[in-house]
């Protein structure tokens, strides 16, 4: 009695050199923006890059990229369509803009299914946009995706960082590599988050400013590339 889907997942990632999950203990801190900007910027550096949106409740990367009506090709599995030069997989390929009311076990099953059927081919890097928190999706991706690494996003708020700290401690306990923490929507650069991150022995990757132009650039990668936000993340991707 065993689940035949698990055995193929490893194979699906065989030619994917790095898998970077953008995650946070907290919602609304900019995970999807950061994941999309990092993916685009890695691609601009000449890497072959994939983007996987695993937030089934609030998928957002398709809005940031400004893509709709994409449909994966079927070829011995599912081949993700290209979106602005990225191999792009999202539940919205199938759910379009309908709500996806999934409970915990359904979330796990949908993740396992997506990971099992999606053929990424050869990629330098796959960026994964994670749902907030430390629920099923986070635990499953850690369990199922070999050699996954995390970039953790937070805002300067102590409320946000309290949740983020729990995620960081969990990742450390599970011995999952943490690339570092990205502080986003910073209005008054101060030392709190940086100090806390360094106290945990982790790398403080960037202080990304609150940037009013971001909203305007949604749906338009060309416009996004011109924002300060993008340039700050481009600096992060350069060091990856």
């Amino acid at each position: 009695m065993s689940d035949p889907r698990i055995a193929i997942i490893e194979k699906r990632f065989q030619k994917v050199r790095r898998v970077i999950a953008v995650s946070s203990g907290k919602g609304g801190v900019g995970k999807s923006m950061i994941a999309t900007a990092l993916a685009l910027s890695l691609k601009d550096r000449g890497h072959s890059v994939g983007l996987l949106d695993l937030d089934f409740t609030s998928p957002a990367t398709h809005v940031i990229l400004g893509v709709e009506g994409l449909y994966p090709e079927e070829e011995y599995g599912i081949v993700p369509p290209m979106a602005h030069g990225l191999r792009y997989m999202s539940i919205t390929h199938y759910s379009v803009d309908e709500p996806t009311p999934l409970r915990g076990e359904d979330v796990s099953n949908a993740i396992i299914e997506l990971l099992a059927i999606t053929r990424w081919g050869e990629l330098d890097c796959l960026v994964v946009d994670m749902p907030p928190g430390i629920g099923d999706a986070t635990l499953d991706t850690i369990r199922l995706i070999p050699s996954i690494e995390f970039i953790v996003a937070t805002t300067p708020s102590r409320v946000a960082f309290q949740s983020v700290r729990r995620l960081l401690v969990l990742l450390k306990d599970l011995r999952v590599p943490i690339i570092g923490v990205c502080e986003n929507m910073v209005m008054n650069p101060g030392g709190y988050v940086r100090e806390e991150v360094e106290r945990l022995g982790l790398e403080y990757l960037a202080s990304v400013a609150y940037d009013e132009e971001v909203e305007e650039a949604l749906g338009d990668p060309e416009a996004l590339r011109k924002t300060r936000f993008y340039k700050e993340l481009d600096e992060v991707s350069r060091r990856l």
């Binding site: 035949p4 359904d106 059927i117």
Partner: protein
């Protein structure tokens, strides 16, 4: 589930099991597939013929279907799956990711999308038969 992905998974899982148990020739694999997966038998067989490794040279690939049953968490209603009246896109979405049932299927009594797939969602490898090599 996508047929080719499913067969790849079955072969990889069965091969691992065979190796762990000293089986040198697999004679039969039985796979149970929920109706919600809407897999096509012929495609599965074709994929198996194409993907099988020498270990499965003489193996029979047996597929057992399990009907899908839904149970509403709101009103307790139970009902079955039918792809009748579904567009091709919807049926395909459920085929690739069965959880899409929660997007496109509603309780036939109260209209709630909060139902449980009580039976017929999964795919699993039920039995493997084979011949053990010399000890």
């Amino acid at each position: 589930m996508h047929e080719w992905a499913l067969v790849e998974g079955v072969i990889a899982t069965a091969a691992r099991f065979a190796e762990e148990n000293g089986i040198t020739e697999v004679t039969e694999v039985v796979v149970v597939v929920g109706e919600l997966q809407q897999v096509e038998h012929e495609v599965l067989e074709f994929a198996f013929e194409n993907l099988k490794t020498p270990l499965f040279k003489n193996a029979r690939f047996v597929l057992e279907s399990q009907p899908a049953r839904f149970k509403c968490r709101n009103c307790g209603n139970e009902w079955g799956f039918t792809s009748e009246g579904m567009t091709e896109d919807v049926s395909e979405a459920i085929h690739f990711v069965p959880e899409m049932a929660h997007v496109y299927i509603k309780c036939s009594e109260c209209g709630s999308p909060d139902f449980e797939v009580a039976e017929g969602r999964g795919v699993w490898l039920a039995t493997i038969k084979g011949v053990k090599g010399d000890e």
